[in-house]
Amino acid sequence: MTKVTLTVNGRKVSGECEDRTLLVNFIRENLGLTGTHVGCDTTQCGACVIHMDGRSVKSCTILAVQASGSDITTIEGISSGDTLHPVQAAFKENHGLQCGFCTPGMVMTAVDMIRRHGGQLDEQTVRQELEGNICRCTGYHNIVKSILSAADEMGGAQQAAE
């Protein structure tokens, strides 16, 4: 067993786990943050996407011990109090989710996508960027719409602040 120390959603946490423990299992089992999901075991579906040191990462493809010392944000950590993050709000407004299982990974991917592209997102770019996230319910139509809408709003908000 190895001790792993992380900052998760702004709080310092630590726990013991086997060396083979995947980060996603550490997050779900040791920390009890079950919003991050396991959908495929082969780095394909993206249900497990989290942010590690500011970048989106598939937490099923990194060992917890490798992540030790890093700053992690999960789906539980992006809204402030009762107010949804603009990406979460856009998914709700545009019906960008159905069963909800892929949703945390989609949202975390979208937040990172908008951060990297700023307001410069178009439909084709969003669809290409979603290559690593699978949804079986929505046919992606409303997910794409949600991300474009959030990008617009966040880009607008950024411009207003500048």
Binding site: I75, Q88, L97, C99, C137, Y140, H141
Partner: protein, 781 residues
């Protein structure tokens, strides 16, 4: 339409928990003392089990126990069954082979479970599963249904000679043969409907908890129908009597049919919890899901369609071989019979139909209902045949369909169904206008100049939803009734809980069901909660599949609301000293019509519970239940048009546009309905272009067992869709709803293949139309 009522695009009440990571799926459950299970599965498609040695595995670190199928049989746990009896055309009952939850004599497909390991951690359970030694005598295997029917094929079940489950038929063969003999034109085609893996994003999971003190079981399971699970596990699998078994299906991450069935794993986890004395949780990994979740489709059909000189269809003859896999799954018997051949009339006046269906065992995963269940097979067959006929007859596909549309309702088809209503021309016209069908030749010419092949294809589908009138399905072999239940509980302060036997696993019932109540009682959406998915809370229900929750589940709620309103009006009339017949319910008040006298809803509720001043003889309280048994199936219908561009160098198909014009009857929440259509179309396009379960024919090994091998549709494979609705309200239920959950998956595959074959000028193309296949078809290989 109010802001929150029927017809409003209300954002979903359930979204917040999913968006903030607070959804509660089975794998998220953790209870005190809980241990982890891993199943030991057969690596062979067909083998005798000579011995199982668990001694080394039992000594591994963290292992609580390793349990085998023989002990399970000795404890009286029953075999899995198909709950829909089909008789062959000679009158004999279907040949249902024995399916043990844990095999101990014979394994019949790769993934068949033989033992369960329970350990402190998932890692330790996996390690120990590796240490279980099973000595197999490998037998020859067969994976294709047509091969399994050949003389000398490996025999999979002793009670199914020649691997035949049934040889069923429907319709008038004599009339069909006569029409074929005298036809002006006969179109003949062979149709393959590819095998699919449903792939809800949440893998299946089960948590079995046995309480020694109470001799009581709790099962958390990823189910579309927890009450059916309890019924079947009690009545047939002998796990526990119903009053000692609570089944909870909490948040469930998609189903698409695959979570209707009761699988070996939930039964085994419950039994293992009693044997080990600890709660036992199993969660499928994705490869296990590919191996063991019931697959869908897998038909091979020969079709003949007869036309008279005026291009009217006079007869249809179909011979279908359906691959059932190694065992008969729970509803499997019904899928290629009453959910398939009864829809072969499509949208057309078709005087004579005959279908013969051969149901066959193979050494593959069990096959059962997957989104659409029989109706996609019927639609694909019919719409590919109509398209082919139009090309052969040299008339436009729209005209051929239009000539043959049913225009008078109700319409009795030759294959049981009685269509209550519809307007097929309206959907066809709407789709063609939206797709700019008239402008297609110019677009084709423009593509040709760029060296691309452009094609356009349509599909006019009809399906049967709202399953189903209980007596009718009972007479056709169903083991259960297909009604739905609801209970409306009005609290003393006027807030409302609605208990429903439907189960939401993405469909948004917590919102749409509340919209119905808000419309009827004029109370805010926030004051209404929908309760589902727990056999301790909801007494009984038949669950969610077959696009039935609106048409059947909400109709039950409407019936319960009728009763609540009657009692509420009696109380209001008493309080207002008015006649009961003069009371109307509007905007959260009960009013004396035409006066300014009124009493607020919460006041009526409070009066019902204080019971200080109720009409003489009235019982206190305000709570009513109802069971709704539908009078008929419902018949969603529509027209889909797909336009593609094929790259002749690579065979790669690009979707240019996809248009859907659907008639779902009345719609509660258009935003949610559109979402259902989008998702269905994506699955249909997936079937047409990308998806296909592949087994190695010689070994029976599954070749498509991960997302690296099975091509799931991804965002950049798909376009945005153009969706519209034409409305003819259903006449057989109180809300006029037809259902929308499966249409997208039913209507889309033939539209896509009709478009590609139009583009490449070769009609000989099977699904999935991968670039390699399209290229080969274009270049005559």
């Amino acid at each position: 339409m109010g802001v929150e009522g029927i017809g409003a695009r209300v954002a979903r009440k359930e979204d917040k928990r999913f968006l903030t990571g607070k959804g509660r799926y089975v794998d998220d459950m953790k209870v005190a003392g809980m241990k982890y299970a891993v199943f030991v599965r057969s690596p062979h498609a067909h083998a005798k089990i000579k011995s199982i040695d668990v001694s080394a595995a039992k000594d591994m670190p963290g292992v609580i126990d390793v349990l085998e199928g023989k002990a399970m049989k000795e404890d009286g746990i029953g075999s899995l069954i198909c709950g829909w009896m089909i008789h062959s055309k000679d009158g004999s009952p279907m040949n249902m082979g024995d399916w043990r939850p844990l095999a101990y004599e014979t394994v019949r497909y790769v993934g068949d479970a033989v033992a369960i390991v329970v350990a402190d951690s998932l890692g330790e359970a996996r390690d120990a599963a590796e240490a279980v030694v099973v000595d197999y005598e490998v037998l020859p295997a067969v994976t294709e249904a047509v091969d399994a029917l050949k003389p000398g094929a490996p025999q999979i079940h002793a009670n199914a000679p020649g691997n035949q489950i049934y040889d069923w038929h429907i319709g008038d063969e004599g009339a069909v043969d006569a029409a074929l003999a005298s036809a002006a034109h006969v179109t003949e085609i062979e149709i393959h409907n590819n095998r699919l893996s449903p792939n809800p994003m949440e893998p299946r999971a089960a948590l079995g908890i046995y309480d020694t003190a109470e001799d009581h079981y709790t099962c958390y399971t990823t189910s579309q129908n927890p009450h059916v699970a309890r019924l079947v596990m009690s009545a047939f699998y002998n796990v526990a009597p119903e009053n000692k078994l609570r089944v909870i299906a909490p948040d469930v991450g998609g189903g698409f049919g695959s979570k209707i069935y009761i699988y070996p794993e939930e039964i085994t986890c419950l039994w293992a919890s009693k044997k080990t004395g600890v709660p036992v949780k199993w969660t499928s990994d994705r490869t296990e899901a590919f191996l063991t979740d019931a697959h869908g489709r897998d038909h091979v059909s020969k079709v003949k369609m007869a036309f008279d000189a005026n291009h009217r269809v006079t007869a249809l003859k179909v011979d279908t071989t359906a691959n059932f896999g190694a065992y008969m799954s729970l509803f499997s018997g019904a899928v290629p019979t009453y959910l398939y051949a009864t829809l072969l009339s499509g949208q057309y006046n078709l005087p004579a139909i005959y279908a013969n269906v051969h149901a066959v065992y193979t050494n593959t995963a069990p096959v059962d209902a997957y989104r659409g269940a029989g109706r996609p097979e019927a639609t694909y067959l019919l719409e590919r045949t109509m398209e082919t006929a139009a090309r052969e007859l040299g008339i436009s596909p729209a005209e051929l369909r239009s000539i043959n549309f049913i225009r008078q309702f109700p319409h009795q088809t030759p294959v049981i169904m009685n269509y209550d209503t519809g307007n097929f021309q309206a959907s066809l016209d709407a789709a063609m206008a939206e797709a700019d069908w008239a402008g297609f030749p110019a677009r084709k010419a423009e593509a040709e100049r760029r060296g691309k092949k452009r094609g356009i294809g349509m599909s006019c589908y009809i399906e049967a939803c709202g399953i189903a009138p209980s007596a009718a399905v009972g007479s056709l072999g169903a083991g259960v009734g297909l009604w739905e239940s609801a209970e409306v509980r009005v609290n003393a302060v006027g807030t409302i809980e609605v208990l429903t036997g439907s189960h939401s696993h993405g469909q948004g019932h917590e919102t749409t069901f509340a919209q119905l109540v808000a419309t009827r009682l004029g109370v805010p959406l926030d004051s209404i909660s929908i309760v589902h998915g727990d056999t301790d809370k909801v007494q009984m229900g038949m669950g969610t599949y077959g696009s039935r929750s609106g048409a059947v589940g909400m109709s039950a709620i409407a019936k319960a609301l009728d009763k609540v309103e009657v009692k509420a009006k009696k109380i209001a009339a008493h309080l207002l000293e008015a006649s009961e017949s003069d009371i109307v319910i509007e905007n959260g008040e009960l009013k004396v019509a035409g006066t300014d006298k009124s009493v607020p809803w919460f006041q009526v509720a409070l009066s019902a519970y204080t019971a200080h001043n109720l009409p003489a003889g009235m019982e206190p309280g305000l709570k009513e239940g109802a069971f709704y048994d539908p009078a008929n199936f419902t018949f969603p219908a529509g027209c889909y048009i797909c336009e593609v561009e094929v790259d002749p160098d690579t065979g790669k198909t690009q979707l240019i546009q996809f248009v859907a014009a659907d008639d779902f009857g009345n719609i509660i929440n258009p935003m949610i309905v559109e979402g259902q259509v989008h998702g269905g179309i994506a699955q249909g396009i997936g079937q047409a272009l990308l998806e296909g379960v592949q087994y190695d024919a010689s070994t029976g090994q599954l070749l498509t067992a991960s997302y690296m091998d099975y091509a799931m549709p991804r965002a950049d494979d798909l376009p945005s869709y153009k969706v519209s609705h034409q409305t003819t309200p259903c006449t057989s239920n109180p809300l006029g709803i037809k259902g929308c959950g499966e249409a997208g998956a039913i209507g889309s595959p033939p539209a896509v293949i009709n478009a590609i074959t139009d583009a490449i000028g070769n009609n000989n193309l099977t699904m999935p139309a991968t670039p390699a296949k399209v290229w080969a078809a274009m270049h005559g290989h």
